[in-house]
């Protein structure tokens, strides 16, 4: 195979992997602080993308044309809105069920995901159809052999790296991060030394959901289209990525995200049937992987949580 084409595939894989990783980090944050899976996460991503689209439409109607301003405004609106949504979910759906079996939390958030998805479909104007997402990022590109490096992709990739690095810094270098890690490690001890458990949990939910919003916008810019069902797929893939990496480990989640994207890319490039079977291949590998390493690459108990 041609080197340029290979580089193209790798670039696509990196882009998609970045989105998966962002979603997976959210899953692993929620699991870290509360030991639950927040399955509406993927649909929070959808709502985030649609919130950004609404912000865009509103600002456009107000007569603002500056592209960079629009992009930043969309990001801010969506991130803040989803952080709020995440906190609401955490406060009113997940925390009340803390004593119930884990299955109930899984189901309630799955159902909430359906509520969000269907609400977008039914109540957003013509929400059932795919919506064009504005291409606001500069699209100029440079050709290196067969490899076509687009500026917008590069910007998104760098943004993603910065965001993940920021979360990493926040968790490992700040007092807030210390508190989150303390709650993740041992709730009762954390309470004893004066950490406000509820607040920390809600902050973790806010951070995770904000990451989903960023991933949603990234997805919109990358495909130039969003639809109400995209969150279900991204959510399941992000969940799979978090699990492959090992729940509760942020590095595991990032690793899992890129690993899943790599699987899909390999499925597209190497398999004789081409891209049609790439999901079949990727999920089959995930299932086989689960049989081999039932608790993911980085084991939960041994590894550092969050």
């Amino acid at each position: 195979m041609d080197i340029g084409l290979l580089a193209q595939h790798i670039m696509n894989g990196l882009m998609v992997g970045m989105m998966y990783a962002l979603v997976a980090v959210g899953f692993t944050l929620f699991f870290g602080v509360l030991d639950v899976i927040q399955f509406a996460h993927g649909d929070v991503l959808t709502v985030g993308a649609f919130a950004a689209l609404m912000a865009f439409a509103g600002l456009r109607a107000a007569g603002i044309a500056s592209r960079s301003f629009l992009v930043i405004a969309m990001l801010i609106v969506s991130v803040l809105a989803m952080a709020a949504v995440g906190m609401l979910i955490g406060r009113y759906l997940v925390m009340p069920l803390r004593t119930a079996p884990a299955l109930n939390t899984l189901l309630i958030t799955l159902m909430l995901g359906t509520v969000l998805r269907e609400s977008v479909r039914l109540f957003y104007p013509e929400g059932a159809n795919p919506k064009p997402f504005p291409a606001l990022l500069p699209t100029s590109s440079t050709n290196i052999g067969n490899f076509n490096l687009r500026l917008d992709n590069a910007i998104m990739l760098i943004t993603g790296v910065l965001v993940i690095a920021g979360v990493e810094l926040l968790l490992n270098r700040t007092k807030l991060g210390l508190a989150i890690r303390a709650v993740a490690q041992d709730e009762e001890t954390a309470r004893t030394i004066g950490i406000n458990f509820t607040v920390i949990v809600l902050i973790a939910f806010a951070i995770g959901s904000a990451l989903a919003a960023i991933a949603g916008i990234m997805n919109g810019f990358y495909y130039n289209e969003i639809n109400f069902g995209m969150g279900l797929y991204l959510g399941v893939v992000g969940f799979a990525a978090a699990i492959i990496g090992g729940l509760g480990s942020i590095y595991g989640a990032i690793l899992g995200g890129f690993l899943f994207a790599a699987l899909q890319t390999i499925g597209t490039v190497v398999l004789p049937f081409g891209s049609a079977y790439k999901d079949v291949f990727a999920f089959a590998v995930v299932i086989i992987f689960m049989a081999w390493r039932p608790t993911g690459l980085i084991r939960e108990k041994i590894s550092q949580r969050v």
């Binding site: 159902m111 909430l112 079977y277």
Partner: protein
């Protein structure tokens, strides 16, 4: 007994009603009646008398079903609804063995249902296998494909186990969509059922009374449901059911008492998938058509919400919950668009306010009518 008669008559009334307002009124009436009965203590009394006389009332429920079907003997649509309820109940019974008794997670129930349906589509089109046997084979294939998942299902716990079946649900749908042999996204036609030269897809003329062809399907489904129901009830009552319960409540303790955890998990998972597959195979023939979009992850969630609504582990609750979930959106055409939204809100409400379901599973009742 009285309550059963009331429910039957109510059901007929609901199915007959055509006007939207009337239907909404009837539904509101039912909600009010149930709440009122709950406050007056009648519900508990009905529950108790039901538990005491299950041996009589079980067959009576079957007879009531026949009565409802006979009343609608020439109405295709209503009979199709009833058959759907029966088959969904069989599927959720299978799911109940996995979730409710053994505690094995299965988020791919609709996929196994679909495997059954595709099996009947392929077998009816290309072979001359007797169609009753096709049902059996549909169940076996579902169980067989399910057994591919056994290793990961056995080795994983909790959230990790949930991923395995979710991944399988997505895998199967993606596979069916791109596989041209199985019709791709358009799906396949399924030939109707035929037993001994008697084609199920022809209307029956009986002494000048035209009977809907769905009546034959109804008969087969009812017999199947009866069988499945008996099986699940007996299973629950037996030492196997005890083992499964022990397994669900605490795996470690169960294995300390010498239960072979892997064996019982395999048994529950396989038997459950078998039942789901059989129901799916018949459902494919009834509908005459299979397509990947009918067997998605969202449909699995609907089956699970039926289970939760009815009360995990209680087969009778399943019948009621399936009837609610299947009939209400069909009758309320205005709500058809909103049905997924409605289910999910309903399940969230049940989980928050009544986590044990509408009809919670009662304690094991070894001797009906016996009081200490």
């Amino acid at each position: 007994m009285i309550s059963q008669a009331v429910v039957t008559i109510y059901f007929i009334a609901l199915l007959t009603a055509e006007k939207q307002l009337l239907i909404i009124g009837l539904l509101a009436l039912a909600v009010l009646a149930v709440v009122a009965a709950y406050w007056m203590g009648w519900l508990a009394a009905a529950n108790r008398s039901f538990a005491d006389r299950e041996n009589i009332l079980g067959p009576l429920a079957g007879i009531a079903g026949v009565g409802v079907a006979a009343y609608f003997h020439d109405n295709h649509f209503v009979l199709l609804l009833i058959v759907t309820i029966l088959l969904y109940t069989i599927a959720t019974l299978g799911l109940n063995i996995q979730f409710g008794y053994a505690g094995v997670l299965n988020f791919a129930a609709a996929s196994f249902f679909g495997i059954g349906a595709y099996t009947s589509a392929v077998l009816n089109a290309h072979t001359n296998v007797p169609h009753l046997l096709v049902l059996l084979i549909g169940g076996l294939i579902a169980a067989l494909i399910g057994s591919l998942l056994l290793l990961p299902v056995l080795r994983t716990r909790g959230h990790y186990a949930a991923l395995v079946t979710i991944a399988f649900a997505l895998l199967l749908k993606a596979f069916l969509e791109v596989n041209d042999v199985l019709g791709g996204p358009q799906g396949l036609q399924v030939k109707g059922m035929k037993i001994g030269g008697w084609s199920f897809n022809d209307n029956i003329d009986f002494q000048n009374i035209e009977l809907s062809f769905y009546l034959s399907y109804f008969a087969v489904s009812l017999v199947l449901l009866g069988g499945a129901f008996l099986l699940v009830r007996r299973l629950e009552r037996s030492w196997i059911g005890l083992n499964l319960d022990a397994l669900r409540i605490d795996e470690t303790v169960a294995s300390c008492f010498g239960l072979n955890i892997a064996r019982w998990k395999i048994a529950a998972f396989t038997l459950g998938n078998f039942l789901i597959g059989v129901a799916g195979a018949l459902f494919g023939m009834v509908g005459g058509f299979v397509a990947p979009n009918n067997y998605t992850f969202a449909d699995s969630l609907i089956l699970i919400s039926i289970l939760l609504l009815g009360g995990i582990g209680n087969p009778w609750g399943l019948v009621v919950a399936t009837a609610i979930v299947v009939v209400v959106p069909e009758k309320l055409q205005t709500l058809q668009e909103y049905r997924f939204l409605m289910y999910s809100v309903m399940v969230i409400a049940v989980l928050l306010f009544r986590p044990e379901g509408l009809l919670p599973r009662p304690l094991r009742n070894y001797f009906p009518g016996w009081r200490p």
